[in-house]
């Protein structure tokens, strides 16, 4: 299975003239075969300012590179937004980075990794997060009365098939989620 790697900076705004011959060439090369995974990584500063752009990018990736429906593209927007907000709030200090990696496999799955540096004021370990999710997943959502506490336990866990937390080599946390395309669900 082939993989392509792309790293975009947070303020990357591609300008594409699809009618230009050279752009046509690039666009043709970027066509993804059905059995190929595409890996795209985005590194952004620890600042929620960039989240609207990340949501737009997530929508584009899920709608155009996976085979998921628009409904699931919207859902994965929320999943990525919640995971990244957690990384901003708990994981990486201001001035540090957060890395978001999308791995899309056409007609099969979308995977997302969100990595922080563990330099934030409220650092959480993989064990902390696994325990939190185990405790709160499946709780009646209507029973939650606090302003926080719905992102991971309700939105992320409901709209993914797999959630895993790992302590990474930077001293931070990496959250890995997978959503598989299920016939009739996408």
């Amino acid at each position: 299975m082939g993989e392509t790697n792309t790293i975009l900076s947070a303020d990357f705004k591609p300008q594409v003239d699809a009618n230009h011959p050279e752009e046509q060439s690039v666009l043709n090369k970027s066509q993804v075969s059905k059995d190929t995974s595409v890996r795209i990584s985005i590194i952004l500063p620890t600042n929620a300012y960039f989240m609207a752009g990340i949501r737009d990018f997530t929508m584009t990736v899920v709608k155009n590179m996976t085979g998921f429906s628009e409904q699931w593209a919207f859902r994965f927007q929320s999943v990525v937004d919640e995971l990244t907000n957690n990384a901003i709030e708990f994981g990486s200090a201001p001035g540090q980075d957060i890395k978001i990696t999308f791995v899309s496999t056409q007609n099969k799955s979308i995977e997302v990794y969100v990595e922080d540096t563990g330099t934030g004021p409220n650092k959480k370990t993989a064990a902390d997060m696994s325990a939190f999710l185990a405790k709160n997943k499946g709780v009646n959502p209507a029973s939650i009365t606090t302003i926080r506490g719905r992102g991971l336990s309700q939105i992320v866990s409901s709209w993914t098939d797999f959630v895993e937390f790992k302590d990474n080599e930077k001293g931070g946390l990496t959250v890995h989620v997978i959503k598989n395309i299920v016939q009739g669900e996408s």
Binding site: A48, Y49, M51, A52, R55, Q71, F74, R75, Q77, S78, D81, E82, N85, I88, N140, P141, A142, I144, T145, T146, I147, R148, G149, R150, G151, Q154, I155, S158, W159
Partner: protein, 125 residues
């Protein structure tokens, strides 16, 4: 940064004061804390807050904005008021369902339906 516009309009139902609050744009981590204060102010100022949240032009809301929604609900209920959500887009309805908001706040498909719902609820009460 996400952009959102919130507009407020006075209305009535059954000779009672009603506030129509329309959202346009996206509610996320960058703006919800400041925007939420405007809603709290409305709730504080109304003796019996009857509020319709018009979500027709709301494109995105994150978990924290949903958390504020539940807090507004609690404060409105504490003052014997009522809150109805009107006309959310499909993606907004989807997220409201997954976090259980539709179990506690009525959601209808138009402003007229929201007003009718308010009257019905008040009659029953």
């Amino acid at each position: 940064m996400a952009q959102v516009q919130i507009t407020f309009q006075n209305d009535t139902f059954d000779n009672k004061a009603l506030k129509l609050i329309a959202f346009a744009g996206q509610l996320d981590e960058t703006n919800i804390d400041s925007e939420a204060k405007k809603i709290y102010q409305v709730i504080q100022e109304m003796p019996e807050p009857n509020i319709i949240l018009d979500f027709a032009e709301l494109e995105y809301m994150n978990s924290k904005s949903i958390g504020y929604l539940t807090d507004w609900y609690s404060k409105i209920m504490a003052k014997n008021g009522k809150i109805i959500i009107a006309h959310p887009r499909a993606n907004i309805m989807d997220i409201l369902k997954v976090v259980g908001i539709t179990q506690i706040i009525h959601v209808v498909d138009s402003i007229d339906a929201a007003k009718a719902e308010l009257s019905e609820v008040k009659t029953k009460a």
